[in-house]
Symmetry: C2
DNA sequence: CCGACCTAGTTCAACTTTCAAGAAGTGTCC
DNA sequence: GGACACTTCTTGAAAGTTGAACTAGGTCGG
């Protein structure tokens, strides 16, 4: 950061621009699709999906936040809203009195059943139908590399000499 | 959409999940980086970059919105905010009285000069430093395909029989 | 068991985004 | 030139997000 700026090459700029455009367009597209068909934004829908796949359709708030890559604050607001819709309810965690469980209700499950096919179709149409199987593999690998590099690492784990 | 749901395969699900995680983590990361170093979210920063590259550092609102893949409404609010910061100003378009030009001010240009190196470094660190040159090519091609499929097409252009 | 420190979750205020509605200008067709 | 449709941009209210502050409960060393 103290050295001369290491600008992006033209090729890199093109890629970066394409990345920004594609990701923005896709997220907007899915947000609108789900707002229209399921009455919630994409990220809220993702929370219901997570819960539907968890044992007993319930999860600790912090775990749900981590899996969904959002802050606890954001999750807290989101669950409040989903609770008002009757799709999720909260329950005290029996083993840790600080904890809360977010639980998918039957109504929430039904929303998923009803809207999942349309959502999958939208995802397919935007991504998997347009890419070759090889490209899908490449994309998966690339995204895994990037996600790994961005994982909020535990500072202590990285800096053992501070312990 | 009337046929049986065409679920994602396990491989596709893994890819989709990785995509969601990586894109979310990166956008959050850049938002925080720019909020801290430049005092604005990533998308606002992108607007300044666009303007800085336009002839005479100015652009019609609609064009800027299109290039940035955001709605005109969102842009309008954003420019209002950037105007309050003194980084952008508005001017009437001489050739079309409905039009407005968004113009990058000197102060806006200086913010870019000051913060661009750090931002590029963050982008590099998250993406280009972690991917092989081949992967960068692959990513670029994949993102171009996706963006093209999501481009909001002019309905009339697609449905000439309606004219 | 006590104090210091950590973690879980919520809340508040400030900010951003969305959607629908509206003001104002342009283009076209007759 | 006037009706009509369309484009440009803004606005206002509702919804969502952020970051910091806060409450409450857990943990660990002495």
């Amino acid at each position: 950061m103290t050295s001369a700026p290491n600008w992006l090459s033209d090729e890199e700029q093109r890629t970066w621009r394409a990345y920004l455009h594609a990701t923005r367009l896709l997220e907007d597209h899915l947000d609108r699709q789900l707002q229209r068909d399921a009455g919630m934004p994409h990220i809220y829908y993702g929370l219901l999906v997570q819960l539907s796949q968890a044992p007993r359709r319930r999860m600790r708030m912090t775990e749900l936040a981590k899996n969904s890559k959002i802050t606890r604050s954001r999750l807290s607001h989101a669950v409040t809203r989903l609770e008002k819709n009757g799709w999720v309810r909260r329950e005290d965690c029996p083993s840790d009195k600080r904890g809360q469980l977010a639980i998918l209700t039957d109504a929430g499950y039904e929303v998923l059943e009803r809207t999942a096919p349309g959502h999958v179709a939208a995802v397919r149409q935007a991504m998997f139908d347009r890419l070759s199987p090889v490209q899908v593999d490449q994309l998966g690998e690339i995204m895994r590399v990037m996600a790994q590099g961005l994982q909020p690492t535990d500072a202590k784990a990285d800096l053992p000499w501070l312990r």
